[in-house]
């Protein structure tokens, strides 16, 4: 009986504590800076083109092979009287979010810091009705960075 009373005391004592639950869909908790959702591509605001040159480094390093990268000659390159120093640039880029396991390896291998893990709530809430809708194409991958909705966190 003494033990049961002790248990009751523990449960009673929690009434005095502050609740730790959060109302999820209504309110979002602040995500830590390093939080990683799915990878997305970054937009070079100075030249107005993506950082990605389509070098296939991330595609080769991806353990789950969720990426497809196709490069092209950059029409904005200086040889074409453009402002960009990138000789090649990304043409098509697909990431299958359904396959991605968010291991951060693509970010580590990227030589141009062109890819980053999404650390916003938008990156977490990706529910769709059809699995094929989770295959993201280039405009979708660049949208958040283009609109300056993402703050990049760079590992030292």
């Amino acid at each position: 009986m003494k033990g049961i009373l002790k248990s009751m005391m523990v449960t009673a004592s929690t009434f005095a504590r502050k609740p730790v639950t959060r109302e999820y869909p209504e309110g979002h908790r602040e995500l830590p800076e390093r939080d990683r959702a799915f990878p997305l591509l970054l937009w070079d605001q100075d030249i107005d083109e993506p950082f990605c040159t389509g070098c296939h480094a991330c595609e080769r390093a991806c353990p789950v092979e969720c990426m497809t990268v196709i490069m092209k000659d950059n029409p904005n390159h200086t040889s074409n009287d453009g402002p960009s120093k990138r000789r090649k640039i990304i043409d098509k880029f697909y990431i299958d979010y359904a396959r991605c396991m968010r291991c951060n390896i693509c970010v580590e291998v990227c030589n141009f810091e062109a890819i980053a893990m999404n650390n916003t709530w938008q990156g977490h809430e990706t529910s769709v009705y059809d699995r094929s809708d989770l295959v993201m194409d280039l405009p979708q991958l660049l949208a958040q960075s283009k609109a300056k909705q993402i703050e990049e966190w760079v590992a030292e």
Partner: protein, 379 residues
């Protein structure tokens, strides 16, 4: 035609038959996709046949196609409740083969994270075990509250809540946040309160004791023979703790004693785990005292790691017991073979021995007390 009712003497000659009950693979109390077929006589278990393999994903085989960085993510998924510990075995095997010297700071941080992971894993056990025993709700939610604090910290450090992919051969993927020590101490304070709560909630509770004492007893000899390890073995009175008996990293510099219990029953397995949380809190505090600034990655790490020929077996004390990685390299950037020695698979072998002769309801809490993670069993 009228059939006469059997006379009492004839009724006594009826054959009695044992009943087969199928539990799982999708059953709330089997902690994942585990199936067991119970042969029961009345309410007493006469035989138990476990079936595993519903969660087999071929993680070992997949690792053969990956270089040493890509494999880390798969190790997370073999042992999702203590992913830091699983990663640790893997990177330690790689480091042993490549003879990489890991910087001190990286080692201490690894130790802190592994002990924190032990805390979160044991809280998970306490919560799930409470539900198995029948105290639905209260311990589960309390455990979740404390585990959440640890997991939030992991998210701040590594970016993910469960699949960290934070350790790398040679050190850590990136530096911990600036307020790391302060945050760890905060989490430890909340965990300490959590242990106190659980101690008051369950340890002396008469109903809980009546339910768990002398249930699912396994002797030390049998436990050793089966190959059990971790808290389940220590509950039978064997002081085998790899952190003490075969120290890896800097565990030899810390002061602690393996926690054991005598009875080897369900209650003891609970008690050992509860005490291990306090022990881990103590160990982390000792680690924090010794943590100094410095590099977190070994020097001169190549961009693509290539291992010399050879083989290594590195085992660590994960929350559920000995988690080992046996790695064979034949040169090149991919392992030739990776074998996962999972503590859960060995511990699960004791299930039949513990359960036969017990009630059906007790078979569930015996399974809960072994604390299995099915993804680790099936890999």
């Amino acid at each position: 035609m009228v059939v006469d009712a059997p006379t009492p003497s004839e009724a006594g000659d009826f054959e009695t038959q044992d009943l087969l009950i199928n539990v799982g693979p999708q059953h709330p109390s089997t902690h994942g996709v585990f199936r067991m077929v119970l042969e029961i006589d009345g309410e007493v278990v006469k035989d138990l046949v476990p079936y595993i393999g519903y969660l087999h994903r071929g993680a070992e085989k997949l690792c053969e196609n990956f270089d040493f960085r890509q494999g880390i993510g798969y190790m997370d998924r073999t042992e999702y409740l203590a992913a830091h510990n699983a990663e640790l075995s893997y990177v330690m095997a790689v480091e042993a083969l490549a003879e990489i010297e890991v910087p001190e700071r990286a080692q201490w941080i690894r130790m802190i994270l592994c002990e924190l992971n032990r805390i979160s894993s044991h809280f998970m056990f306490l919560g799930a075990f409470g539900v198995d025993v029948g105290v639905f709700g209260t311990p589960f939610i309390y455990a979740w509250r404390e585990r959440e604090a640890v997991i939030d910290l992991f998210e701040e450090i590594s970016g993910d809540r469960m699949m960290y992919a934070y350790f790398r051969p040679g050190g850590l993927a990136w530096e911990v946040p600036v307020n790391f020590e302060e945050r760890v101490r905060e989490v430890l304070a909340s965990s300490r309160q959590g242990v106190k709560d659980f101690d008051g909630l369950l340890t002396e509770n008469e109903i809980f004791i009546a339910r768990t004492k002398n249930v699912g007893v396994i002797s030390a000899e049998d436990a050793i023979e089966i190959g059990m390890s971790g808290p389940s073995l220590r509950a039978s009175g064997v002081p085998l703790d790899l952190r003490k008996t075969e120290p890896y990293m800097y565990y030899d510099q810390l002061e602690f004693e393996p926690i054991t219990a005598e009875g080897g029953d369900v209650f003891d397995r609970y008690l050992v785990r509860l005490k291990e949380i306090s022990q881990s809190i103590d160990l982390i505090e000792q680690c924090l005292e010794r943590l100094e600034a410095g590099p977190i990655m070994a020097e001169k790490m190549p961009r693509m790691l290539r291992l010399p020929e050879g083989e290594a077996y590195m085992r660590t004390e994960a929350p559920r017991g000995e988690y080992g990685i046996y790695m064979v390299s034949k040169g090149g950037n991919k392992p030739h073979r990776v074998k996962v020695r999972s503590a859960c698979l060995s511990n699960l072998q004791a299930l039949k021995q513990m359960s036969v002769g017990q009630y059906v309801a007790d078979a569930i809490i015996i399974l809960g007390s072994i604390d299995i993670v099915l993804s680790e069993v099936d890999r």
